[in-house]
């Protein structure tokens, strides 16, 4: 009824976000929302979040595989159990921060790789906490 203009005897075409030139307007039109934005859902601290790429299988038991995309939030303080990125001897390293006999150490999630003891190294920095890894199945 609203779309019928009595003075001009013409139908007004309702304005839609999608262009519908013929037929009925989509019943979903009133429910259109923005696309799902993964940035918004995966990243809560965008200004301290960085992306890195995994090479190798040292974290295979944690489900992190070669070529996976890693999302790191540097604003988080690492806690035992977290998977973390560290700078060790001039390289980025990915390990699980673990605790055994009251001693913190970095655990590789692959039996072929050694664990990492802090006391054996001088130059270590925990760089950030891994919040997601993204794996491609194609």
């Amino acid at each position: 009824m609203d779309s019928f203009d009595s003075t001009t005897k013409k139908f007004k075409i309702p304005l839609l976000t999608d262009s519908v030139s013929a037929g009925f307007p989509s019943p979903a039109d009133d429910y259109t929302e923005e696309n799902i934005d993964l940035n918004e859902h995966l990243i809560s601290n965008p200004f301290s979040t960085f992306f890195l790429r995994v090479k190798g299988d040292s974290m295979i038991n944690a489900g992190i595989k070669d070529k996976d995309l890693i999302i790191v939030d540097k604003s988080l303080t690492a806690k035992p159990g977290n998977i973390i990125i560290a700078m060790i001897d001039g390289e980025f390293t990915i390990k699980r921060l673990s605790i055994k006999n009251n001693e913190l150490y970095l655990k590789a999630e692959n039996h072929n790789y050694p664990d990492f003891r802090f006391k054996n190294h001088v130059d270590v920095q925990i760089w950030g906490v891994v919040i997601y890894s993204i794996h491609s199945y194609l």
């Binding site: 301290s48 960085f50 992306f51 700078m87 980025f92 990915i94 130059d123």
Partner: protein, 428 residues
């Protein structure tokens, strides 16, 4: 005399910003001496603390110290503005959460305003943002606090120079202010240029304390209201506000030095065209249009030929259309070209800028209005595509020939924080 201490102004800046950006994202550079070279790999413009400790000087031309840097195992990098720009954006956005107002003053410094807590002590606040920024970005900041901008700048200098300050200094809460102001020589005060500094020194004024206490009339007579304002700020009054929305720019410039000097017209034209495309894109991203387009080129400052030329074209109606601007820039480049000279730098300037949102199209007929809309749509599409895919996904053919004049960036690090193809690799 002092204004109330409820609000304070802080000048926050990043230490060794460019070098810190590189060290944060590249583990090889951690704890290593790093220097960054200016555009075209000319001079040293930033040094990591490790490089400072080796007494490598700012501003040194690279070719003069190449051997020495090599021997000392110093990492040498070209300036990587996509990395520094991204880290700057992160830094400023993080700071925003911890202050009331922020004025971004340069790529690595900002004035912020902050309320003093009941005990008036801002050191805990400064310490917490300092450790926050370090944890989040791997960047160390210096916090200088004062009643106003001039004193915040001074406090920032003091924070850097006093060993026990730990990167924080509050000039409004110090007992022996006179001693501290005496340490700031006159030419280091914000807003004092070379000429003013010379004049003041001829009057026997050598430091900030002496300028603060100088006879007011003498300052006003020579420096006018600007000088009076400066003195008032030194005394602790606030004259210069935090400018949250900096006035839109008066002009947009894109210019670069050439990798090797050029003598051919086609090279000059191609370089200017490349800059013009960039400048028009910049204008559109800020909703600006220009009605006065200028190009310039000059020979090296160090060469015996000291030649500089510029030419400009005024337009009847402002534009941000790359096609139109390119046509003009190509014509202007012929005007300034001279085969006798080796040009080492060239650029374009978009002047007389107006905001395109409020643009009054003067007398235009229906057809030209349609054309305008068409060109605006085309430009918008190109900008979108270039944003969506990487830069220059779509560009103009003139830029596609080999660019022999391209700037030297022989030691450029990766766009590690902004390009998915260039993100760092975890090896172990």
């Amino acid at each position: 005399m002092r204004i109330s201490n409820i609000d304070a102004i802080a000048l926050i800046d990043a230490n060794n910003f460019y070098a810190s950006c590189e060290q944060n994202i590249n583990p090889h550079l951690r704890n290593k001496p790093v220097v960054i070279l200016s555009n075209n790999d000319g001079c040293i413009i930033a040094r990591s603390p490790e490089a400072r400790a080796l007494k490598i000087k700012m501003g040194t031309p690279y070719f003069k110290v190449k051997e020495r840097l090599n021997k000392l195992d110093v990492a040498v990098l070209s300036s990587n503005y996509s990395l520094y720009g991204d880290m700057s954006r992160r830094l400023m956005n993080l700071l925003k959460n911890y202050c009331e107002q922020i004025e971004i003053y340069s790529i690595d410094e900002a004035f912020v305003s902050i309320s003093r807590p009941n005990d008036e002590n801002l050191y805990p606040w400064a310490r917490s943002i300092r450790s926050l920024i370090y944890q989040n970005l791997g960047i160390t900041i210096t916090v200088g606090i004062g009643e106003n901008k001039v004193r915040a700048k001074i406090a920032n200098k003091l924070a850097k120079n006093i060993d026990y300050s730990a990167g924080i200094f509050d000039l409004a809460r110090t007992e022996n202010e006179n001693n501290y102001l005496k340490r700031i020589s006159i030419d280091k005060i914000w807003g004092v240029g070379k000429q003013t500094s010379n004049w003041l020194q001829s009057k026997g004024i050598k430091n900030a304390r002496e300028l603060r206490d100088m006879e007011e009339n003498e300052i006003i007579k020579k420096l006018g209201i600007v000088g009076k304002r400066l003195q008032l700020e030194l005394k602790g009054h606030r004259c210069l506000p935090i400018e949250k929305n900096k006035k839109s720019k008066k002009e947009i410039q894109v210019s670069r030095s050439f990798g090797t000097p050029i003598t051919k017209l086609e090279d000059l034209t191609q370089a200017l065209a490349t800059h013009a495309i960039k400048a028009s894109e910049k204008m559109r991203s800020q909703n600006l249009q220009s009605s006065d387009i200028r190009v310039f080129a000059r020979t090296s400052k160090y060469s015996s030929q000291n030649y500089q030329r510029s030419a400009h074209r005024k337009l009847t109606s402002a534009t941000d259309d790359t096609n139109k601007i390119l046509k003009i820039v190509v014509e202007l480049s012929e005007e300034i070209y001279n085969p006798e000279y080796k040009f080492s730098k060239a650029g374009v300037l978009m002047q007389d800028l107006t905001n395109s949102e409020y643009l009054q199209q003067s007398v235009i007929n229906y057809k030209s209005q349609k054309d305008l809309k068409k060109s605006a749509n085309l430009m918008r599409t190109i900008d979108l595509l270039n944003k969506r895919f990487n830069n220059n996904a779509i560009t103009w053919a003139i830029t596609k020939n080999p660019q022999s004049w391209k700037m030297n960036k022989n030691f450029l690090s990766l766009s590690s924080t902004t390009d998915i193809e260039q993100i760092p690799t975890i090896v172990k």
